[in-house]
């Protein structure tokens, strides 16, 4: 039996469509300023940097260079391809590992072994590809990438851990917690250049610097701090590990301390907000079940704070990859480039070498790196986040 569809009268339909169109137009008008601002100050500079990266641009626009600026930064294509292949293998290894853990026990060992084999292959390919890139590419820029990674990996986990511990303490409503909350937050709101200058003095290589005076209290030898280009592991234990595996220099470690000091306060405030949003009933239930403080932290506080932790880690990594001001203030020729993150190298290429096209290519590469890291972080850690 054919159904008779309900039809609006023609005039009413037209009126509704017009109203809908008007609402849409109003919506667009409301968002237009934001879209314009984002397009003008966000997308346009990025697009323009992308455009510049294809040219020789030295104060003024020069001839078209195609991908040569990228080639100059990364080296010959074979090295780049091998390294990209290594990243793909790494992703595959991670995927196989996860699958193997979910599969039946008989196949699990085989799957895990295959994943480990892939991981070894990925590391070998990465080392080979990276070595080739260093041979043929811009050593300053390429060396800045692991320095950037060291800076991010050295500062973010440490500042999150300290901030979480402090937030948990402050959340106990101890006397003076409001005062300490303000004290911890102060470094974040103070001008970076001023505080970095103070840190530069504290970590000066002079015997009389505060850091060296502190070491002297324990009968330890004075250190070069910001002027030390040797890796921390070598300074502390005498281990001379090759290249990347040597870890950050003592100079970079000193700068990492500054980064941690600056951002801990901000993280504490966000963690406190997160702690406040966890239902008290959960703690009461855990207490009734006989859970001790550690159990409560491990099974309630930490998991339920995971959205906050994830957010702070994400923002922190992006910030660390772009870090500039304090490193600019604290760097010294004695550090031999071991504190030069990608942002520093880009700045030098732009303002000292005046190679705008090449600097733009470096900017695009850094942008892709940030995008990649953020995506990977989202994929890897996003799954562990518990939202309720």
């Amino acid at each position: 039996m054919p159904s008779r569809a309900f039809r609006l009268p023609e005039a009413l339909g037209r009126r509704l469509r017009r109203r809908e169109a008007r609402e849409q137009l109003i919506g667009y008008l409301f968002t237009a300023p934001a879209v314009a601002v984002i397009a003008l100050f966000g997308l346009f500079p990025l697009g323009y940097a992308f455009y510049m990266s294809f040219f020789a641009w030295r104060v003024r626009q020069g001839p078209f260079r195609g991908l040569r600026n990228y080639g100059k930064a990364l080296g010959e294509p074979d090295g780049v391809l091998i390294f990209a292949g290594a990243v793909a293998l790494l992703v595959l290894a991670a995927w196989m590992w996860r699958r193997a853990r979910q599969t039946v026990p008989e196949r699990r060992l085989l799957g895990l072994l295959a994943a480990v084999a892939l991981l070894v292959l990925a590391i070998t390919a990465a080392v080979t590809g990276w070595g080739r890139m260093l041979e043929t590419g811009d050593v300053k820029f390429l060396n800045a990438l692991p320095v950037t990674v060291y800076y991010a990996l050295g500062s973010i986990p440490l500042q999150l851990a300290i901030a979480l511990a402090l937030a948990c303490v402050l959340f106990q409503n101890l006397r003076g917690s409001a005062f300490f909350r303000m004290v911890f937050f102060l470094p974040y709101v103070m001008p970076t250049v001023a505080t970095a200058t103070v840190f530069r003095s504290i970590f000066s290589s002079r015997d009389t610097s505060m850091a060296n005076q502190f070491l002297a209290l324990f009968g330890l030898e004075p250190q070069q701090w910001l002027a030390e280009s040797r890796p921390v592991l070598e300074v502390l234990f005498g281990w001379q590990l090759p290249d990347f595996w040597g870890g950050p220099s003592l100079a970079l470690a000193s700068i990492i301390l500054f980064g941690v000091w600056t951002f801990v306060g901000y993280n504490v405030v966000i963690f406190l907000a997160g702690l406040g949003s966890i239902s008290g009933e959960l703690y009461e239930a855990a207490e009734l079940d006989g859970a001790n403080r550690w159990d409560v932290f491990r099974h309630i506080t930490f998991p339920l704070l995971s959205p906050v932790t994830f957010y702070l880690a994400l923002i922190g990594f992006i910030g660390a990859l772009k870090a500039f001001n304090h490193i600019f203030v604290m760097r010294s020729p004695l550090a031999q480039g071991t504190v030069n993150t990608a942002s520093m190298v880009i700045f030098d290429t732009f303002y000292l070498a005046n190679q705008y096209g090449y600097a733009a290519a470096q900017v695009v590469l850094l942008f892709l790196m940030i995008l990649g890291v953020t995506y990977a972080q989202n994929r890897v850690f996003g799954r562990s986040v518990i939202y309720d």
Partner: protein, 449 residues
């Protein structure tokens, strides 16, 4: 017919002769008919406090006295680096100032976009320029420094002042160590510096004694290289020569000084002046423009007698690293450019130079200014000592991208001096990298297109 030919020939010869005997500049003075009247100009510079006050006084006098109603406004725009960065963003726009301080390498960078006025025709203009006698009154080394072979010998600036790398020394401590004169050879320098570390100064304010502190700066590298008879740039081949014998000897000498514990790197901004003024540091090499600051610091510190000397050298005569920013003129309109030139001409005149030198503690660029500095020389013997060394001046290369190379040179100096890296290999690498960078800079010169 023959008569007409003779007449024509006579006319042609007369025209040719009159053209030939005409003053050279009058033949084609592009500025002769330009009117600079009533222009308002902006001058960007880096001077602050007493120097800015002195400059303001110069500007005011010019504004009141020039017959064309030209008004100059001077503006402090931060450090040399700040001004350079601001300029790079503004080149080719109407926002650029009419006059700007610029080191030679910075001017060369601006000129990559053909942004500066070549002052040659203004300088040579019969109506507005300077006579041959006036031009000869400039210290030749300063005068030539702003002529750029890379840009077909364009004059992209004119020096209003200069400074020089000198060795500051504590005269009283030197006497306590048993020496009457500052060391003139590297061997003597090492001997005294090492002795100082073992024999603290009697008036020292605080513990510790240091022979020499080296600021890890590209100009120090250049100065020591000059003192050892080397150079860092070959003007004939337009290539860096950081691997020269002189550079290698100089760096090996500094490395040895550090290894023996007789020298240390400057670890903090202003650290050398602080240590020198408190009597804990015997020798420090720095710019002569720091003379008033050292004077004030020593006066507030350990209060001892001090002076300056050339760096110890192996050359028969000292070779002094002379440097300083010139003033350059971004392109605008002929009227504004001419008005700006008239201010430059005033600023570099001997009378103004003598006053500016005393107020700013820079060296004047006009030789005749010396006659007006007699009293000042008497009151400031260190300044006089340095002034007398100007004749031995030599300068660092005025090429684009030198700032980038300076950063490389500073890392190389740090690696050699404080980290004991192989001198030859480090300098070879520096030289190779510097020349690669230079070639990249010169790849797209405006004149090459």
């Amino acid at each position: 017919m023959p008569h007409r030919i003779v007449l024509s020939l006579t006319a042609a010869i007369a025209l040719t002769v009159s053209f030939l005997v005409m003053p050279a500049g009058a033949q084609s003075d592009p500025w002769a008919k330009i009117d600079p009247s009533n222009q308002s100009l902006v001058f960007w510079h880096n001077h602050t406090r007493s120097r800015q006050d002195a400059l303001q006084a110069i500007v005011e006098t010019f504004n009141e006295s020039n017959p064309y109603g030209i008004t100059v406004t001077q503006e402090t725009q931060g450090s040399y680096a700040d001004i350079f960065r601001k300029m790079l963003g503004l080149l080719g726009t109407s926002e650029v100032p009419d006059l700007v301080v610029a080191y030679q390498n910075q001017a060369a960078t601006y000129q990559l976009s053909d942004a500066l006025v070549d002052m040659t025709s203004l300088l040579q203009s019969p109506k507005w320029g300077m006579s041959a006698e006036q031009q000869a009154d400039f210290f030749p080394a300063f005068f030539q420094q702003d002529v750029f072979p890379l840009f077909e010998n364009a004059r992209l600036g004119l020096a209003p002042n200069r400074s020089m790398e000198v060795l500051y020394y504590n005269r009283d401590w030197l006497a306590e160590l048993g020496y009457d004169e500052p060391p003139s050879t590297p061997e003597a320098f090492k001997e005294i510096a090492c002795k100082a570390t073992r024999t603290p100064f009697s008036k020292a304010d605080g513990g510790g004694a240091m022979g020499y502190q080296l600021n890890l700066d590209a100009s120090r590298l250049a100065s020591w290289t000059f003192a050892f008879g080397g150079g860092i740039f070959d003007y004939e081949t337009s290539l860096y020569t950081y691997d020269s014998d002189g550079a290698q000897q100089a760096m090996a000498f500094l490395q040895d000084l550090y290894a023996e514990g007789c020298a240390r790197p400057v670890s903090e901004r202003g650290g050398a002046i602080a240590d020198f003024s408190t009597g804990r540091l015997l020798f420090s090499s720095a710019s002569s423009s720091g003379l008033p600051f050292v004077r004030a610091a020593v006066g507030a510190g350990a209060k001892f007698n001090w002076s300056v000397a050339p760096l110890p050298h192996i050359t028969p005569a000292p070779v002094m690293n002379v440097y300083g920013a010139s003033v350059s003129m971004p392109k605008s309109t002929p009227q504004r450019e001419l008005a700006t030139w008239l201010f430059i001409r005033y600023f570099t005149s001997p009378e103004v130079q003598a006053g500016w030198a005393q107020a700013a503690n820079y060296f004047p660029v006009r030789q005749s200014a010396e006659q007006r500095l007699g009293d000042y020389f008497e009151r400031h013997d260190a300044y006089k000592t340095a002034f007398d060394l100007l004749q031995y001046g030599r300068h660092e290369p005025p090429v684009p991208g030198y700032d980038f190379v300076r950063a490389m040179a500073e890392e190389a100096l740090a690696a050699i001096f404080a980290q004991g890296r192989d001198v030859e290999k480090t300098l070879d690498r520096l030289n190779r990298d510097a020349n690669v960078s230079l070639q990249e800079q010169l790849e797209y010169l405006p004149s090459a297109e």
